[in-house]
Symmetry: C2
Subunit: 347 residues, 2 copies
């Protein structure tokens, strides 16, 4: 048995244990990254995984060669939903767990026949990263930071490069340095665009300030970092407030506290300076195979931090029509919060 | 009133008409491209649109500036699902249409209070493209073909370029030529990788044959094309069969026939040569704001072709462990099937 198989089996066993504790005999997965997490196979079209003592993935004819090559779980061909219903009946399941993201049309096909309950066992399991996962995330962080340095954004500004060209060159550097792809569309939001937290790159020369939010994937695992390069006195003032919120939130992190308390720390500092209405998103989020995972570092999330969770801390202040500043780091929860990488804040 | 508003209103009116015909008083949308289709606002995080006489989009605080700037429909801030429930109650809705993709956790929040029925009114409406949409798709096709020519793939092969570098350069050219982004991750599958229909680019020099599948977005609208460059006699033989299936399927296209008949034409030609088990996917799919839209050109889909539908025709033969060949064009349904663009098949 290869090490890879043992890791996969441990994951399956943990899920089976969780299911067993609540009397579930089966679980249905359709989320691509839940299937990848358990099997190492990343579906490129519709696939469904049935978790039971002997789990099986049903996938399209088109994806079968890929699935057979990469999956540690048994693979069969998905032909129709009536086959799924037959399979579930054959297993004599009574209580089946489903993901909260299951599309309602699939839910409707199995509703009424079993006791179906939304249980995000996978999302909970995926919150705590294994050392293998942490290694991959560290690698993604290192590549994305190295590539950002090589990009030399200050020189790009002097040259009058366009926003999308900067994003594109960064993507090239990350791939050259060993990444698979971006973990999300790189944000290069400059001038008044920086007040839109999820601004899209435009075909215009870099203005100021320059807000960049970028990350890459290494073997499926994501990084996510933001920096803002400020030019005016007012931008600098806002930058310092955001950095203080960022630092104090990270200082507060340790196992045993609720994530909403971390959000509250960042928010209260921004409030002290009178900008709380301009901090228009959560303080951060967990990440791994997906760039947004549970928990969200927000007012409403009461998840308790545990060792080996990895979260972002990314406070921001957005002045509509003027500019925005966001500073984001990834933090590993150890005895305290450990910032991943050491990319400077002042570029 | 601007032309943009009139187009949007026509779309809303068509949906309201469809709802009215089946006694729906409301419809709930969460699919990003359904919301973009009706409002022009493309959500960057969770948003929900309630269709009624006076439609409204509820979006995150973070996305509000963007939504206010771009949406032709009224925008409010989404705070919680209990607000949505209140809104639905206030409207005194009885029968509400939902999308088949609605996540089950959202469905569960409103289940039991109303008569909820899955109705893909938007998907049906989006099947027939307006002249404005066709213009944008034509633009996307033109950019993606021009960029492919500029790439000079034969030269890349001689130079020993890597698969991912080819994909990346094509992405650069498409953006330089005016595209927003790729419509999906460009496939450059060479050597035995070409037998995986959705292969990912690898960090290896181009082998043979070279199967490329690429597209770009222009103002949100997608293109999608595949070409395979063959080198050996056996590859050439398979190429000719696939091209015959492609040509005859396109020749068969006209308004009034079922899409499964088009699939049957392509499949029967490949069967004649004894390769039907190696044609492991559908013959094609519709596309627009999404790269895969309804209908699918497959055995099971009985949708009848109408004027101004745009579909792909992309038969393929995949010899596991050896190589694969796929040839794909986009076809507009007019009095007959009109191939979009005129990119040669032999490169």
């Amino acid at each position: 048995m290869f090490l890879g198989d043992i890791i996969q089996n441990k994951k399956i066993n943990n899920i089976l244990q969780k299911m067993n504790n609540e009397d579930f005999d089966g679980m249905i997965l359709t989320q691509i990254n839940n299937i990848k997490y358990l099997s190492n196979y990343s579906p490129t079209s519709f696939a469904i995984c049935i978790i039971k003592e002997d789990p099986v993935i049903l996938t399209s004819q088109m994806d079968k060669e890929l699935a057979n090559k990469t999956s540690s779980l048994k693979v069969e061909e998905f032909k129709s939903f009536s086959d799924i219903v037959k399979l579930l009946k054959k297993e004599k399941f009574k209580k089946i767990a489903i993901e909260s993201s299951l599309p309602v049309n699939i839910y409707k096909k199995i509703e009424g026949k079993w006791d179906l309950e939304i249980k995000d066992f996978l999302e909970t399991e995926r919150m705590i990263k294994s050392s293998d996962e942490i290694d991959k995330i560290n690698k993604a962080v290192a590549i994305s930071h190295k590539s950002f340095k090589e990009l030399n954004i200050l020189e790009k500004r002097e040259k009058g490069t366009n926003e999308w060209e900067v994003a594109y060159e960064l993507g090239y550097l990350m791939r050259k340095n060993g990444a698979q792809e971006e973990s999300f569309e790189t944000i290069v939001a400059t001038g008044s665009n920086s007040s839109l937290p999820h601004a899209r790159c435009e075909n215009k020369k870099l203005e100021t300030p320059i807000l960049m939010d970028w990350g890459c994937k290494f073997d499926g695992y994501c990084s996510d970092t933001s920096r803002t390069i400020v030019y005016s006195e007012k931008q600098e003032k806002i930058f310092n407030i955001v950095l203080e919120a960022h630092d104090k939130a990270i200082d507060y992190i340790k196992p045993g506290i609720k994530v909403c308390e971390v959000d509250e720390i960042a928010r209260s500092i921004i409030a002290e300076y009178g900008y709380v209405d301009n901090f228009i998103h959560s303080t951060g989020h967990s990440l791994g195979l997906d760039v947004h995972e549970k928990p969200t570092i927000s007012k409403k999330d009461e998840t308790i931090l545990e060792k080996n969770m990895i979260i972002t801390i990314e406070p921001g202040i957005y002045l509509e029509g003027e500019f925005g500043v966001r500073i984001e780091d990834m933090v590993k929860v150890a005895n305290k919060g450990e910032i991943m990488g050491n990319l400077p804040y002042k570029i």
